[in-house]
Amino acid sequence: MASRLPSVDVVLVGFGWTASILAQELTDAGLQVLALERGGFRDTVPDFATTQIQDELRYAVRNELFEEPERETLTFRNSADQVALPMRHLGSFKPAAGAGGAGVHWNGQNWRFLPTDFLQRSHIEQRYGKGIIPADMTIQDWGVTYDDLEPFYDKFEYLCGISGEAGNLGGQIQPKGNPFEGPRKRGFPLPPLKRSYGTVLFDKAAREVGYHPFPCPAANTSQPYRNPYGVQMGECTYCGYCEWFGCGNYSKSSPQTTVFPVLFTKDNFQFRPHCSVTRVLLDSTGKRATGVVYVDAQGREFEQPADLVILTAFAQHNVHLLLLSKIGKPYDPRSGEGVVGRNYAYQITSSVDVFLNELVNPFMGAGALGQAIDNFNGDNFDHGPEKFIGGGYIALWTTGGRPILQHHLPKDAPTWGSGWKKSMADNYLRSVSIATHGSVMSYRDAYLDLDPTYRDVYGNPLLRLTFDFHDNEHRMSKFLTDKAAEIAKAMKPRDMHVKQREGHYTIVPYQTTHNTGGAVMGADPRTSVVNRYLQSWDVPNLFVVGACAFPQNAGYNPTGTVGALAYWAADAIRSQYLKKPGPLVST
C-alpha cells in the first residue's frame, strides 16, 4: 500500500529541459511545484568537472549518463508479424536519467522547425495535391503554427544563449544566415562560434555547387552570456566533449547552466531524485488526475497527490506512463482507431566521410559547431519531380575527434590488422564527415503499445516499439545523401565513403535520440492525445510535454521545438488554465 504524501499544486514527472522550464515558469506564478526524477541529482561541479568528464570510454562508450535498460527499456520489432524483443543495451538512441535529462548530454544543435513543418498535411496537399501522400502515411497538422510558437522559440534561444546568425529578420533575408528559416523577431543572443577548418572547407564547397551554407545555431556559447533569469555562462573552449558528456565549463546550455541556479533558490520548488513514477492516478470519473504513484530508491511506494500533473519525461516514457495509467484510448493499428502510441516517428540519417589532404585537427570542436545547408529541408524545394515528401539539413559538424567513436576510415580500409592501423594513422587527422539529418513521416504501422511478455524492474509491461523505415524515407535519404556527396566532391578529397542508410531500421548502431510521437498534439481528439496547448483531451488537469507531441518528425534536431513547446504550454497554463481550470479547447 502506497504511503500518501501531502498534496502539491503541480507535480512534474521527469526533470529535464521541459520540466526545468515549467518549474521555473510555474513557481514564478506562485505555485508549489515538485519535480520527480528517476535518476539522481547532477551538477556542473562535481559531476561534469573537467578533471573527469573528458572520458570517452566511461561516458560515450559505457553510457554512464544515460538510462539503464536493466531498470527500464523497451521491446522492438520492425513489423507487427514479428515478436518484439528487448533492447538489452542502448544502441540506436540514448535517453538520459538524472537531473537535466538529455539536456545534459546533448550536442546543443538548436533549431526552429519551418513554418510549413507545422502544416505538414495541409501544406503538402495544397501545393502538390492529395495524391503525393501515400495512403498509409498518417501525417497531420500540429494544431499550432510557427507564428504561435515564434515568441517561445525566442524565449528558449535567449534562455540558452544560442550562438548563430539570423537568416530571416521579420521577413528580411540576411546574407550570412539560413535564408530558409521562418521569420524571427530578433537575432540570436550571441554571434556564431569560431569556425573549424572542416566547416570552412564545407562552406566553400557548398557555395561552389550553388547552395547557401550558414553557421548552425549552437547552444554552445561563443561569448560569455547572462540569460534573462540572470544566470551566467562562459565562453566555449572547443574541447570537443559535448555529445554524451556534461559540460564542465558552463558553456553548453543545459538546465544546470541556465535554470537551476535560480530555480533551486525558490521556496516553492522541490526536487526529489530517485523516484520512478509508475502511474498517474485518476479519480472515479476518470476525467481528473489526483496525482501520481512513484517508487523510491528503496522500493517504497508513495502516492503523491497534486492538482496539476505534467508529464515531462523522455518522449516514449510519457507514452508508456499514459498506457500504464490507461489514460486516452490506446492506438489500434488494425482499425487505425485510438490515439495513445499512434504516430511514433524517428529520423533517418546518413553520412559521407571525406578524406582530405589538409590537416583538420578533428579533436578541436564543439557539439553544435557546424556549417549547414537547408536547401533540401522540409518543403524548401520542389518535391514535384521527386517521389517523396520531407527532407533534411546537410551539415558538416565538427563536434569533436574522440578516437574510439569519432574516427573515419575509407570504405576499403581493413577492420583490423596492420592495414587498419595504417589507415587510422593516415586518416584520423585528415578526415571530416558530412551528415544528412532527414525527417521521418508517421505511418499507420509505426506505433507504441505495451509488450505482452517482457516487464521492467517494477513489474510493469515494457513499452513495445513497432517501427521500420518506409520507401518515402529511403528515397528522401538517398536524395539527401547524393547532395551531400556532391558537396563532398567539391571539397576535392583524396577519398570519400558514402554511408547511405539502407534496409530495415535497426535498434543496434547509434543513429539519433530524436524519437517522437505517441502522444501527439492536434486539433482533433480522434487523432491526437493532447490539444494545441499539450493538455490531455481526456484529463484536463494533465499536460504531456515533449517530442511525444510531434505528429511526425521534421528534418531538424528537436530540442529547440521541445523548448518552445514547454514555454508555450507554460504560458497557456499561466495565462489561461490557472484562471479557469478546465479544458482550454472545447470538443
Binding site: E56, P69, R88, T237, Y238, N361, F363, W416, K421, A425
Partner: protein, 260 residues
Amino acid sequence: MLAATQQAPRFCSLSDAIRHPFDFVRMSFTPSRRRLLKVALAPAATVLPLRFVPSAAAASVAHPGQFAYLTPVEFTWVEAAVARLIPNDELGPGAKEAGVATFIDRQLSGPYGRAETWYMQGPWREGTKEQGYQLKLTPAQLYRTAIADVDDWCSRNGKRPFAELAASEQDQLLHRLEKGDPELARAPAKDFFEMLLQNTVEGFLADPMYGGNQDFIGWKLIGFPGPRYNYVAEIAQYGKRYAMAPVGILGRDGRRVKEA
C-alpha cells in the same frame, strides 16, 4: 613464490608486470623507480630462458591472481588475439604492447563484464539482426565460453591452442571467427569476434588509466593529443599541426592506471 600474492602497486600497469615478471617482484612502489628497474632487468629475463620464458604464458603461470577476471590461460589467449588485431609492426607497437589484454581483463571484471546495466531478463530467443544482442551471456561469460570453445575447436581439428598457433594461422582463424565460421559449441563466433574487436579498439584508444593505451601508444599513432580543455587559440589556425604531447585524465604519465 612471492609474486603470487603480491598486490599490484597503485600506479603499476598489470601488463607491465606480465611482460617483465622479475621487476614485478622487486620493484619499488614509485613509477620512476620501477621504470629504472625494468630497463635494468629486461635483458636478464632473456638470459634465463629455462626457468622464465619471456612470454605472456609463462608470466601468467608465474602470477596467478594478478588478473581481475581472466584465468592465466584466458589472458594469454586474449593477449595473443589482440596482438593480431592491432599488431606490432613498422608503424610501432600494437595492442599487446599497449596493455589491451589488461584493459579487457579489467573491463570484464567490472560492470561492463557483468552486463550490469543491461536488460538481462528472459524469455530468451533468437531475434533478427535489427533487434540486436539477444544472448543470455554477459560479456564476461561470452569471453569465457568462446575462448574455451575456440581452443576446443582447435583441438578437435588437430591444431594447437589458439595462443600457440603461428601468427598467420591466428590471423586465418580470426578471419573465420569474424565471418561466424567455425561454428563454436556454445557461443556464436561472430558475436564474440565483434565484441573482442570492439573491446580491443576501445583499449587501444581509451584513456591509459583503464590499463590499455599505455604510454599513449594508440593516441600517438593517430595524432590525438588527449583530453584538453581549451583550443580557443588554435581552432582557427587552419592546417597547422597541434604539437603538444598527449596528456591523459591522470596527467602526463601514460602509465598511470586507475585503481579498479
